[in-house]
């Protein structure tokens, strides 16, 4: 029985549209890498160079030779690492509480983490600036990391909670009947099953902290305390007219870690935000 609906769009047209979508999505990423591999003279030639035919790594040398980039890179790595570890540990503990217990303030907590996700960072810069200023945390890595931890916790708790929900508590109970302690059952049974969830949320925290712009712009203003995005923004303003190829090399250095980590966990990124709506 073949009652397939009649085709309205011919296959060739469909594939053509698909190719257009592919090109439009890929081109800016390709163009960034391509420009970063070309010498400044080729970038400023009459005809665009569609591929790195005058291949050079000098732009990366120039970017990495900039003391500002190295400082910013180290600051970003430090802030991101602190955020990642702390957010994972705190979100892990909180997600256990939300998922495995029923207590009176649980509903209020869940509403709070949903509402916090919708409060724009842009609206918080003024008061976060003042609060950190009062505690002498401006221009410090730990101060910025504290803000980032608070910023990513709502989403990381929400996502991890979904993973913990997916692991039946009966597994732990069975291990306890077999003689495990409660903590032992948790560590040996639930924790290993949670590994994919921890990786997914960890990557989210990494990307957030690595890309964050607004708070870093306000909190980290001294030249030696800039993070990578803030440094890059300033670098573009200074060099754009003269040297797009070095700008593209610096952009590639910033973008590559994010793209790699994102691709690892991509299939889990969307589910957290819309999971409630997918089930018809």
């Amino acid at each position: 029985m073949n009652a397939r609906p009649r085709r309205f769009v011919p296959r060739a047209l469909l594939n053509l549209a698909a190719v257009v979508v592919i090109l439009a999505s890929l081109f800016p990423v390709y163009w960034m890498v391509n420009t970063s591999l070309l010498p400044a003279s080729a970038v400023r030639s009459e005809e665009p160079h569609w591929w790195p035919d005058a291949f050079t790594l000098r732009n990366y040398e120039a970017a990495l030779g900039d003391q500002g980039l190295i400082t910013a890179l180290l600051n970003s790595v430090a802030v991101t690492a602190i955020t990642l570890v702390a957010a994972l540990v705190f979100a892990f503990l909180a997600s256990i509480a939300v998922s495995r217990y029923r207590f009176r303030s649980r509903g209020a907590f869940i509403i709070a983490i949903l509402v916090i996700q919708m409060i724009p960072a842009e609206a918080m810069i003024v008061s976060v600036f003042r609060v950190l200023d009062g505690w002498y945390l401006l221009n410090t890595i730990i101060g910025l990391a504290f803000v980032y931890i608070a910023l990513v916790l709502p989403f990381t708790i929400w996502t991890l909670r979904g993973f913990v929900n997916g692991i039946p508590a009966e597994l732990e109970e069975a291990a306890m009947i077999d003689g495990c302690s409660r903590i032992g059952a948790f560590w040996r049974i639930t924790f290993p099953l949670l590994a994919p969830g921890l990786i997914a949320t960890g990557v989210f925290a990494f990307i957030q902290a690595w890309n964050e712009f607004v708070f870093a712009l306000v909190i980290m203003t001294r030249p030696d305390s800039l993070t990578l995005p803030i440094w890059l923004r300033a670098f573009v303003q200074v060099t754009k007219a003269t040297d797009w190829s070095v700008v593209m090399a610096a952009s590639t250095i910033m973008a590559v870690p994010v793209i790699v980590f994102f691709l690892i966990v991509q299939h889990r990124m969307s589910s957290g935000l819309v999971a409630g709506a997918v089930k018809g």
């Binding site: 163009w31 509480a97 003024v126 306000v218 890059l232 797009w244 952009s251 997918v278």
Partner: protein, 320 residues
């Protein structure tokens, strides 16, 4: 160890007389609260406390003098009145809403079309489209903005070169960012380009839930393509589209990095601000934290009102 008390079924099992841990009647839930403490402290100190400060500050005269130690003075609704009577604020709000509406409309329409297209493609093509969209999605907003800024560059940008080739006139030297309208057009392209993948993947996930048998049955009963989409597919993906719409509106209304970075590539700051960048320039650059606070509170209220639907949907999922 008392840190972990009974799991999920606690209230019911505590009520039963033969509980496995009968010496624990209903009592204060120390276990979960201990687990929540670190997260709650971080969010309370670095989001809750600043939020309270923000509201207080928005009712205070808080300018440069106060930054350097003068005690702030309460001026009631003074900041709100001066912000709401300032034509610059309304101009910025209008531009933000305009940019947001155009970007959201383009994102949703193209996103849904691409998602529908993906359901009709062969396996190889579909995988290729997915990978391309994933790469665009993974690209940090800041680097995407810089690359698009380079593509639209005045002197050596690709767009000007292509236009020169196509039209035969020289477009070299045409500045896309100095005119506010074309600045916003470029910004809308950047925002839409970055937002489409999320809409496509979410919509596609919803479309795959539509049972094929129902579609076949409808086709046999004589429903045309459009009728099938409207009567069968739409009810399946309606709630997901609404959630996506709400999220897109919120994300596009508060857009910051793209606008701020694009302004440093070119463009007149005063004419191209959106609400987020405006808050930054009023409070950080001009030093009027009171007015900045008032605008921030207004933005929070607008966004929370829009996101109420999203929060309700997520809570419903939590209950089920």
């Amino acid at each position: 160890m008392t840190v972990l008390s009974p799991p999920a079924a606690a209230p019911q099992s505590a009520a039963q007389p033969h509980d496995e841990q009968p010496r624990r009647p209903r009592r204060f839930p120390w276990g979960p609260l201990a687990l929540l403490t670190p997260a709650v402290i971080m969010m309370a100190v670095f989001i809750g406390w600043p939020l309270i400060q923000l509201v207080i500050m928005s009712f205070q005269e808080f300018g440069r003098a106060q930054i350097f130690g003068a005690p702030p003075e309460f001026i009631g609704l003074g900041n709100y009145i001066s912000v709401l009577t300032d034509p610059a604020f309304w101009a910025v709000l209008g531009r933000s809403v305009g940019l947001c509406l155009v970007s959201v409309a383009a994102t949703m329409v193209l996103g849904i079309l691409i998602a529908v297209m993906m359901t009709k493609l062969g396996a190889v093509m579909r995988t290729a489209v997915s990978i391309a969209l994933l790469l665009a999605w993974a690209m940090p907003a800041l680097t995407a903005t810089i690359v698009w800024g380079w593509i639209f560059d005045t002197e050596y940008g690709l767009v000007n070169w292509v236009l020169t080739q196509v039209t035969g006139e020289s477009w070299i030297g045409h500045s896309w960012l100095s005119d506010p309208l074309s600045f916003y057009a470029v910004a809308a392209i950047i925002i839409t380009w970055g937002a489409i993948p999320f809409v496509v993947f979410s919509t596609y996930a919803g479309l795959t839930q539509v049972p094929g048998e129902v579609m076949e049955a409808a086709a046999l009963d004589g429903a045309g393509g459009f009728a099938r989409f409207r009567l069968i597919v739409m009810p399946y993906i309606r709630s997901i589209l609404l959630v996506l719409l709400v999220l897109q509106v919120i994300w596009d209304l508060r857009v910051f990095a793209q606008i701020y970075a694009l302004q440093s590539i070119g463009g007149v700051r005063a004419d191209t601000n959106t609400i987020g960048v405006y808050i930054y320039s009023v409070s950080m650059a001009s030093g009027d934290l009171g007015a900045g606070g008032a605008i921030s509170v207004i933005l929070v209220i607008i966004l929370l009102a829009i996101s109420a639907y999203w929060i309700r949907t997520m809570l419903k999922q939590e209950e089920s």
